[in-house]
């Protein structure tokens, strides 16, 4: 379980707070989607929830980050990394730059955890299978397309079998097929009991994998509830977040007085 209580944060050298009084709980096995307009503080929330802000990048955090009930204040980053991992949106910067093959790149995290070799290999193979990276396992990680590199980055984190995972727009660089693979991998992780927080613009992906959605605007949490409820909430569009296609269509049909004409769920299932 990952918990933020009254989290207020500002970056080093800035007077303004980027997050204000965030209360958020992500339970074990739960996938929570994080939405909000650009520059609302989604990326900052990802950094704070992973402990990297302030542990690694400085700044001032008031309030509490707790993992499995323990406060993470003043923990060194490598200790945090054993509890919570975070995936960023730029695939180029997630590469270690020290591995010669994709396999070694993915094995790096488990290796750093000091696991026995057999375990490292098993976890690496599993992550490769989960994201269907078999065909590029022996390729040079610096010579991948943006989409492939992003999948390798996500596999590298999965191999650490993290209890808590935070993803900041993990599919921004991915085509629809890659996006679907990531969705499947995240669900597999949650089924094993990990708690996941995903910041995404692609609300369609969140609609498919999340049980709960939280929305932030200007650094404050404005909505928190079951996926369907939040996506149907008119306040979501008011802050500049686009609901998933299914929801938009349902709303448009209702507005046009046509909701009786089509059975959306049946048609969607049929197609």
């Amino acid at each position: 379980m990952l918990e933020l209580r009254g989290a207020t944060y500002r970056y080093p050298g800035y007077a303004r707070e980027v997050l204000v009084g965030i209360d958020l709980v992500v339970g074990d096995g739960e996938i929570v989607g994080l939405v909000g307009p650009n520059e609302a503080g989604k990326s900052t929330l990802c950094l704070v929830a992973s402990g990297l802000a302030p542990a690694s990048i400085g700044g001032k955090l008031t309030g509490i980050l707790a993992i499995d009930g323990e406060s993470m204040a003043d923990r060194p980053t490598h200790e945090l990394a054993e509890r919570v991992v975070v995936c960023f949106q730029n695939p180029n910067t997630q590469r270690s730059g020290i591995a010669a093959t994709v396999f070694e790149e993915i094995a790096l995290g488990p290796m750093n955890l000091g696991l026995p070799v057999a375990e490292i290999v098993e976890r690496t193979r599993e992550a490769i299978a989960l994201l269907r990276l078999d065909s590029i396992a022996l390729r040079d990680p610096s010579r991948l397309s943006g989409g492939q590199a992003q999948l390798v980055g996500i596999a590298s984190l999965l191999a650490m079998r993290p209890g808590h995972v935070i993803l900041d727009e993990p599919t921004a660089q991915l085509d629809p097929a890659g996006t679907r693979l990531v969705g499947e991998a995240l669900r597999a992780l949650a089924e094993r009991g990990s708690s996941l927080l995903i910041a995404e613009h692609k609300t369609g992906l969140l609609d498919a994998v999340c049980s709960r959605i939280v929305a932030i605007d200007a650094g404050r949490l404005v909505l928190d509830g079951p996926t369907r409820e939040v996506f149907a909430d008119p306040r979501l569009e008011a802050i500049g977040v686009e609901p998933p296609a299914r929801q938009r269509l349902a709303t448009a049909l209702a507005t046009a007085g046509l909701e009786g004409r089509v059975r959306l769920a049946d048609l969607e299932a049929a197609s």
Binding site: P76, E82, V85, C87, F88, T93, R95, N112, M160
Partner: protein, 102 residues
């Protein structure tokens, strides 16, 4: 870095930067490349260091990729036998019973 400079140069050429003309034009063409090359390298360093920390890079302690291969029963027996044979040879040699050999 060379690759990055290549992409950045392509982006600037697409905006009409002349890198194929006279020497003067080419020299003038270097300036708009320097900023993005250095800035993007610096921001990448910061992000990359975060990405490494996430993967427990700063964890103290030794790490290696050596496999410990357990000996099978036969291998253990062979190892013990070899040791015994060596000891036997030394004893025989010392007691003069191998004196006939070179």
């Amino acid at each position: 870095m060379v690759e990055r400079a290549g992409v950045i140069q392509a982006a600037q050429r697409a905006r009409g930067l002349d890198t194929e003309g006279s020497v003067r034009a080419r020299l003038r063409g270097i300036m708009p490349l320097v900023g993005p090359v250095i800035l993007s390298s610096l921001t990448e360093v910061e992000e990359r260091s975060l990405a490494l920390e996430v993967r427990a890079f700063g964890r103290p302690g030794r790490r290696h990729l050596l496999w410990r291969i357990p000996d099978s029963g036969a291998q253990l027996a062979a190892r013990a036998l070899a040791l015994l044979a060596l000891l036997a040879a030394i004893v025989l040699r010392a007691t003069g019973n191998l004196a006939g050999l070179p």
